[in-house]
Amino acid sequence: MNYDEAKAISRCQQGDQDALKEIFDQYQKKVYGIAYGVVRHREEALDIVQEVFIKLFRSIKNFKGKSHFYTYLYRMTMNTAIDHTRKMKRQPPPNREEDGEFQISANPEERPDRVLAHKELEEKVKWAMNQLSPDQKAALVFREVEGLSYQEIAEAMGCSIGTVMSRLHYGRKRVQELLRDYVLGER
């Protein structure tokens, strides 16, 4: 079935849940990707996906079509993910052995030392990303994960292209410094 975005949005604005389902099918992976890019944790990213689509259903009436729908949705996703990160900072860290984050792959071909090194790198990247300001982190996720152009990022973040370039530049510089050994290929 062809997806007609304008019609789906219009129907959703009138409270049609089937229309929301069409939008969900279209954007679920993108929204999950942005959420995961920010929190880098499966369960938290899934919670954010739920929250975003519930929020979207409530607030889609406010979408006037002045910007692209996807930048509107990506902005909502980013704000929800950043809020979620702030809330989680105030709470004690979850028990990681319980939530399965360190489960080793069942694939027998994957050597345990490589799996551990991979996990260590992921944890390092997560830590380094968390050292950035929310704006730098958002710009980096939009660019590096979603591959958005400067123009699209500016629209999603409600700022100028110059600001996007500055956030990307300083964000990259900071993460490169924090992951120096990995980025320079010394590890």
């Binding site: 999950y32 990707g33 880098r40 739920q50 980096l140 996720v141 400067y150 990259r172 490169q176 320079l184």
Partner: protein
């Protein structure tokens, strides 16, 4: 670093993000084969991109999201069934505030402070403070009493000629 590096290095990030003009692209691509330092900068950016992007792509790839829709649908239906006053009640609900641990010591400190300050806050103060008698002299003709008020500072001398007559000077 070569002489033209300084002008090209400013373009490297834009080049990496595919945001350069045609002319800028030609400039960078003409420079790269002879400049290992600029190639290293690009390689570092590429490596960083992979560190950030690859785990996300893997997570998206293996995630089965349709079940999330069922939870969204259920939540929306539950919201629609809620009575109109429920959001107002939630908004007024102070329990989340009380759950914040930082508020508990603040509340305890406030109560203790009020208890300490209460005697001072609710102390009755007369607008005419009690006079303190400085001297009292009795004689056959007159009785004299001298007393002072602190605020305003006044000294009053009473002469008693008898129970019926009283004179005062100040």
């Amino acid at each position: 670093m070569k002489k033209e590096c300084s002008s090209v290095s400013k373009l490297l990030e834009k080049y990496f993000d595919q945001e350069v003009t045609h002319a800028e692209r030609s400039l960078v691509e003409g420079h790269l084969p002879d400049c290992p330092s600029c190639r290293d900068v690009l390689r570092s950016m590429e490596r960083l991109r992979n560190f950030i992007r690859t785990p996300v792509e893997e997570a998206v790839e293996k995630e089965d999201l349709p079940w999330v829709w069922q939870k969204i649908e259920r939540n929306i239906q539950l919201e629609e069934k809620r009575p109109w006053w429920e959001p107002v009640r939630e908004w007024l609900d102070i329990t989340p505030v009380l759950k914040k641990k930082v508020l508990i010591p603040v509340a305890v400190a406030a109560v203790v402070l009020i208890l300490i300050m209460a005697p001072f806050l609710f102390e009755k103060t007369s607008s005419y403070p009690d006079p303190s008698v400085v001297e009292y002299v009795e004689s056959e003709t007159y009785n004299v009493m001298v007393y002072e008020l602190e605020t305003p500072q006044v000294t009053v001398i009473w002469l008693f000629e008898g129970p019926e007559q009283e004179l005062s000077t100040s």
